[in-house]
Symmetry: C2
């Protein structure tokens, strides 16, 4: 009865389980809902309940969809010979926002991480090899994060696809546009020197 209501206390606990939400924030969110209009709160509750029932992952690429195949996989105007490999569904959104990419995607839903016990079977990898093999894919762009795990995964994928005859590339690393030399870390800067581009 800490909060005067078991329902409220449970809701606060449930909110606090979400990433980046501490007990104070969870309390603030729950009390905000308590002050909100019933219809808004009911809408939120209904959407949460709908989520797992309606939203699924594309059978082909692993992106978010409400159908069997996602809107990108079924878009015949996109280049079917080009696949961009990302770690998470939200990475697809970020890449789509650039408007620069017109190929397909493949979402791994994770990265290789021996420390956390994540091996090749734990991520959406075998489906990628299958797609490359069956669709005469010409290029696989690996867009995992520029981290140790992301790099390890990229190397692993490149090795696995070696025999498939397609080109495997990785997003360029260098200075972020709009950044300044002063605040660049040494690894990034060293790499930017090494991979300098001809003007």
């Amino acid at each position: 009865m800490e909060y005067g209501s078991e329902t409220l206390a449970n809701l606060i606990r449930q909110f606090a389980r979400m990433p980046g939400i501490g007990l104070k924030t969870a309390q603030r969110l729950a009390l905000y809902l308590l002050r909100s209009k019933s219809e808004d709160v009911d809408r939120l509750g209904a959407l949460v309940l709908e989520l797992k029932a309606k939203v699924r992952f594309c059978q082909t690429c692993g992106s978010i969809t409400e159908e069997v195949k996602c809107a990108i996989c079924t878009d015949s105007t996109r280049n079917q010979k080009l696949i961009c490999v990302v770690e998470q569904p939200q990475d697809v959104l970020v890449l789509e926002k650039t408007g620069q990419y017109r190929g397909l995607y493949h979402v791994l839903h994770g990265v290789l991480s021996p420390i956390d016990g994540v091996g090749p079977e734990d991520i959406n990898l075998s489906r990628l090899e299958e797609r490359v093999r069956n669709n005469e894919v010409e290029e696989v762009i690996i867009a995992t994060n520029p981290s140790v795990e992301g790099d390890t995964t990229a190397l692993y994928i490149a090795k696995a696809l070696e025999s498939g005859g397609c080109t495997v590339t990785r997003l360029a690393r260098g200075l972020p546009v709009g950044g300044s030399l002063e605040f660049a870390d040494e690894v990034t800067l060293a790499r930017a020197i090494e991979r300098r581009e001809r003007l």
Copy 2:
């Protein structure tokens, strides 16, 4: 179809309406739920739907409860002649944690704020005057926040209860325990000098 699913997009929008939750955080929370176990997500949805139906405010003091009267108002071992006035329901929780207070509470659900158009009729004030009048209350401790609005509200309440014959007090202002002079603001420090206590 920005997120590949209308349900997901709506949930993200609904999360982003909550205080302190931006679009990126809302996206992170929704995608976390998508990866979570169905039973956990369903539990959250059910709790949100239950919230407005089950939780209400105590008829007497305005605290959170699932009954007509809250656990504190119905506790006869508490001092019925002492009322502590706070701005929000969560302030009751904070004061209860001190274990120092054994009287009753009164939750205003707001503060007087002419700038935001909040007047005496918009907060739970008339019920307080009624309680003081009908229950021979001896002391009203005003624990609104030490802010301009909190102070204004405190003065207004003191004035309104003037004729009732009860003592009206305000929480002490001074240096926070564990703080250091170096980081105290001038207003707090000036006040701490002015109200210095004899050892």
